[in-house]
């Protein structure tokens, strides 16, 4: 209703634009008497580079997460920029391997045509999760490994094409966006075969092909209507997989016969979305904006559907340069549905078909309101207060054991920024959040967060910054299906940052940083018992800590030579601990998932100019990973190294 009223108001206001039109024509008539503008003559620039790429890693290591071990070979790059006005174009292609490249293409004709294509390809080595050794004396559980670590990877390709066509002389245009992402490769598939019951568990690991593509196509129109700018768009999405499902043999259980059934299926998905947006001029005391969207997603394979609707409106009011008010309201609806039954059939004996009922999914409506006020108290002190509420209301939740379908959260935040001088800035923030009837165990009743940041420039070449933030969240009354004895949860995090930018002898610019990130959760956890209630392990503790030390150096650019180097050393550890003897004897479960890693990354890059537009550039990266765990549980991480190097000769015109 608000949006409709605003559009009507805009059209009325636009009628008064005719007066301005006449004034502008008079101004333009005067300007035409001046010399006619001539397009400047700016020569195009070109550069082409050819070189070699060397890359390799120990395939079982986690060091080369994004290195392409088969990427040794040719690398090339070219860049061109031209201004045959009114045409303008730009093309950059950096090819470091078939699975590692970047493309940026832009073309414009005046301000009426604009085209941009951004393309990225990246090679991602995947971790391999060993299932552990099989104890042949025990029939269940058993372990069946049909693959081997190393070689699991995906190549991710992302392409984003945007085309805009504007009406000459008017602020109105139509646009099209095409967004495609695809993955190809091979990944480890872990699956439970056998009968699926405790007396016949067959944990299996095998390689499967990855081959999927998802495309989005959006078309829309945009125009100014007096005080308002309005945009409407329609988009469709399509997801297909070349490897729809895997078929394996299962043994019989009380629910179905033995047979060959599908698992890990990737369905065919379609969705569509309509969006309408409007806003007033950004330059007024009063700025309003609103968005309405509706989206539907369909699973063409199973028939599951979900519909989303979102309405959001915001307003900012500048009372005077010292005081600004912000308001936002958003409502989001999710309406999920499924056919109510799922069927599974023996691929080799279709007569064995089984249909099972499926409970309806949870649907949810959420609404969010935010009110914020900012005030410049003095010339150097700005304070902000913000209050927001979030209400969630769920349908079909009781079928899922969620007894409290409605949740409400209230958040209050206060922050201040102080600039005692031109060279110093101090920022402090405090936030408290309260949730009524939290639904999931990882939500808290009360959460408090504080943050302090300080930046100071001792000199133009010496700047330091420091930051600290901490959060504490508490929950009383956890929800486990079979017990009420697990009640308490506390989670905490604190993060520290120190950074300095300074100059070293020889004019070398240096940036050194230290970051510590710490997260911890202490929670009563429950585990099933064959008799009676689940047992509770009170106060089980999870925590992870990371320290990151980094230094980056840059030699001053001289006429011929530039050089940059960097070193990052990261330590990460994570563990799960409990005092409960059931979980610690005879094997301590904490040893099965702990993480303790040291990773060192070295970077070196430089360019030497021979003159005449001829350059030699090199870009080297080396990573070392040390897995510090005792490997009581064989995990994916193994010690190892990874390297990538590119050498290229480039000629520019």
């Amino acid at each position: 209703m608000l949006l409709a009223a605003a559009i009507v108001m805009a059209s009325v206001c636009a009628a008064h634009a005719d007066d301005f039109d006449a004034e502008l024509e008079a101004m333009l008539a005067e300007a035409v008497e001046s010399p006619v503008y001539e397009y400047p003559n700016i020569p195009a620039t070109y550069s082409f580079g050819l070189g070699a790429a060397l890359a390799g890693d120990d395939l079982a290591t986690g060091a080369g997460r994004y290195s392409y071990s088969e990427g040794s070979g040719l690398s090339y790059g070219f860049q061109t920029r031209g201004f045959p006005f009114p045409h303008r174009f730009y093309l950059l292609r950096d090819h470091r391997g078939p699975d590692d490249n970047y493309t940026d293409l832009r073309y414009a004709y005046g301000d009426t045509v604009f085209l941009r294509w951004l393309g990225v390809a990246v090679h991602h080595n995947l971790e391999y999760e060993p299932l552990g050794a099989d104890d042949t004396l025990t029939p269940s559980p058993s372990v069946n490994v049909l693959d081997a670590p190393g070689g699991q990877h995906v190549t991710v390709a992302l392409n984003d094409v945007y085309l805009r066509l504007k009406y000459p002389g008017y602020a109105a245009h139509v646009f099209m966006r095409y967004w495609e992402r695809s993955r190809e490769g091979m990944k480890q598939q872990r699956v439970l075969l056998g009968s699926g019951y405790f007396n016949d568990l067959r944990k299996t690991s095998q390689d499967v092909e990855v081959d999927w593509k998802s495309t989005d196509l959006t078309v829309g129109a945009n125009a100014h209507l007096g005080h308002m700018e309005v945009e409407a768009s329609h988009g469709v999405n399509d997801f297909t997989s070349g490897n729809a499902a895997t078929f394996d043999s299962y043994t019989a259980n009380s629910f179905r016969s033995a047979g060959t059934y599908s698992h890990s299926a990737m369905p065919e998905l379609e969705s569509s979305e309509d969006i309408l947006m409007a806003h007033t001029s950004y330059t007024g005391r009063l700025v309003m904006a609103a968005t309405m969207s509706a989206r539907e997603s369909d699973n063409k394979t199973s028939g599951a559907k979900v519909k989303y609707g979102t309405t959001t409106a915001s307003m900012s009011i500048i009372f005077n340069p010292s005081n600004t008010l912000y308001l936002l309201y958003s409502k989001h609806t999710m309406d999920a549905d499924n056919p109510g039954a799922a069927t599974v059939a023996d691929a080799l004996n279709p007569a064995n078909t089984y249909t099972y009922s499926v409970r309806q999914p949870v649907s949810a409506d959420t609404s969010r309101t935010t009110l914020a006020y900012q005030s410049l108290l003095t010339g150097s002190l700005t304070v902000r207060a913000k209050y927001s509420t979030l209400k969630a209301s769920r349908e079909n939740s009781q079928a899922w054991g969620i007894d409290t379908p409605d949740t409400g959260t209230r958040t209050g935040q206060f922050s201040a920024t102080l600039r005692p001088s031109m060279t110093t800035r101090v920022r402090a923030e405090f936030e408290q959040k309260r949730t009524d009837m939290p639904v999931y165990n990882n939500e808290g009743d009360v959460s408090r967060r504080g943050r302090l940041n300080v930046d100071h420039a001792f000199a133009p070449d010496l700047r330091v910054s420091a930051g600290y933030s901490t959060r504490l969240t508490e929950r009383r009354g956890l929800d486990y299906p079979g017990t009420t004895l697990a009640t308490e949860r506390t989670s905490a995090s604190d993060n520290t940052y120190l950074g300095a930018h300074f100059m070293l002898p020889g004019g070398i610019s240096a940036m050194a940083t230290f970051t510590k990130i710490f997260n911890a959760i202490k929670q009563d956890i429950a585990y099933a018992s064959l008799s009676g209630q689940p047992l509770v392990a009170p106060g089980a503790l999870y925590d992870d800590t990371s320290h990151c030390y980094a230094i980056d150096l840059s030699m001053p650019a001289s006429e011929r030579f530039t050089l940059a180097a960097g070193l990052t050393f990261t330590t990460s550890s994570a563990s799960f601990r409990t005092n409960n003897s059931d979980l610690t004897l005879p094997v301590d479960v904490s040893t099965l998932s702990e993480v303790d890693i040291r990773q060192t990354d070295y970077r070196l890059s430089g360019t030497y100019s021979f003159g005449g537009g001829l350059d030699l550039s090199a870009d080297l990266a080396f990573s070392n990973l040390d897995d510090m765990t005792a490997d009581a549980n064989p995990d994916a991480l193994q010690d190892g190294n990874s390297y990538k190097g590119y050498v290229r000769v480039t000629k520019a015109w």
């Binding site: 997460r65 598939q189 005080h227 179905r256 806003h279 609707g309 999710m334 990130i517 990460s572």
Partner: protein
């Protein structure tokens, strides 16, 4: 409810088209502020004693800004919309104010004389608008005066976004004199973001991470630096919609899902980096046991072998954890099949 949203959107589109026809095409040229902020607009007028002299006169005697001028002319700011108008789209004085006071008394001869004495002739910058010391909203207004009228929906939510509220302006990220490319390259975005969001850079060095430091994923893939209605400047309305922009295989919907927990991937994953595999918030099995009871197959303590079976990773068996259309062997939706 969502269907009613779609019908409402169609109705409003019809209204918008009708309003367009009523207003006439002339209205398309204009976008004017509701109650101009006169205090800031006065700051951007510049010296009332000075005259506009044009770019050629601003830089006629001085070569120190030759590169800036060449880059600016080659950019969309300096490009000509139409040769008939006789004016460039934007020139020096559009932002710096009327320049006659800054170049008063400076001639090519004087510049040459000073250069012979080893002196670089300086303009009287005090006669121009003191952009560095403008209040933050005035700095933004300098750009928004034009970028509110040329159909740029990038800034749709800028006014009430986190960046605007925290005094981040256009020129914190956009250096209009850096070169002819005024579109900030995705490669440069991350470097800019890390200047304030330094913790994120450390997160991207962790064992499991998005390849931002490798230059293959960019902050702008998930966040809109020009602000959105969504928390943390997320591009899409929900966390899930933001993640499935790339991780499309997780979009669903599926017959068997994790209730509405799936709408927020951050329930189980971190977005930047994690010491745990797959960007997990906590390692399995603790991650799952926050909400689910663990397995136990006998009245006594689980044997070592049982622990290996159940307590390494829940997803070894519950492998289709993001959603499945297949019932498990028992006919239920336990994400085994």
């Amino acid at each position: 409810m969502a269907f009613r949203h779609r019908g409402t959107i169609v109705l409003l589109c019809v209204l918008a088209v009708s309003a367009l026809l009523m207003a006439g095409c002339a209205a398309l040229k204009f976008s004017r502020p509701i109650m101009p902020v006169k205090e800031y607009e006065r700051m951007l007028v510049g010296s009332l004693d000075a005259d506009y002299i044009g770019t050629n006169n601003c830089l006629a005697a001085c070569h120190a800004h030759d590169k800036i001028r060449r880059d600016f002319t080659a950019s969309t700011m300096g490009a000509q919309m139409s040769a008939d108008s006789g004016m460039p789209m934007v020139d020096c004085e559009s932002c710096h104010g009327p320049g006659s006071g800054a170049v008063k008394g400076i001639t090519a001869e004087k510049v040459a004389e000073d250069a012979a004495r080893g002196i670089e002739t300086a303009c009287n910058y005090n006669a121009l608008i003191d952009i560095k010391n403008l209040p933050v909203p005035a700095k933004s207004l300098m750009c928004l005066r034009c970028h509110t009228a040329n159909a740029t929906f990038n800034l749709h939510n800028f006014a009430t976004g986190s960046h605007a509220m925290n005094e981040v302006t256009c020129i914190n990220c956009h250096n209009v004199h850096a070169g002819p490319d005024l579109i900030t390259s995705p490669h440069d975005v991350s470097v800019m973001c890390f200047e304030c969001h330094s913790q994120a850079k450390a997160e991207f060095s962790m064992r499991s991470r998005h390849p931002v430091n490798e230059g293959r994923v960019f902050c702008t893939n998930c966040h809109n630096p020009h602000d959105t209605f969504n928390e943390k400047l997320r591009r899409e309305e929900t966390v899930k919609e933001t993640c499935v922009r790339c991780h499309a295989e997780k979009r669903g919907p599926y017959m068997f899902e994790h209730a509405d927990l799936m709408e927020d991937c951050l329930n189980c994953h971190r977005s930047h980096g994690s010491p745990n595999r797959d960007l997990l918030v906590a390692n399995e099995t603790f991650l799952c046991m926050q909400c689910h009871e663990g397995h136990r197959t006998s009245a006594g303590a689980a044997s070592g072998e049982t622990k290996f079976a159940y307590y390494i990773r829940c997803s070894d068996c519950h492998s289709t954890i993001h959603g499945s259309d297949s019932p498990s062997p028992s006919g239920r939706g336990t994400f085994i099949q």
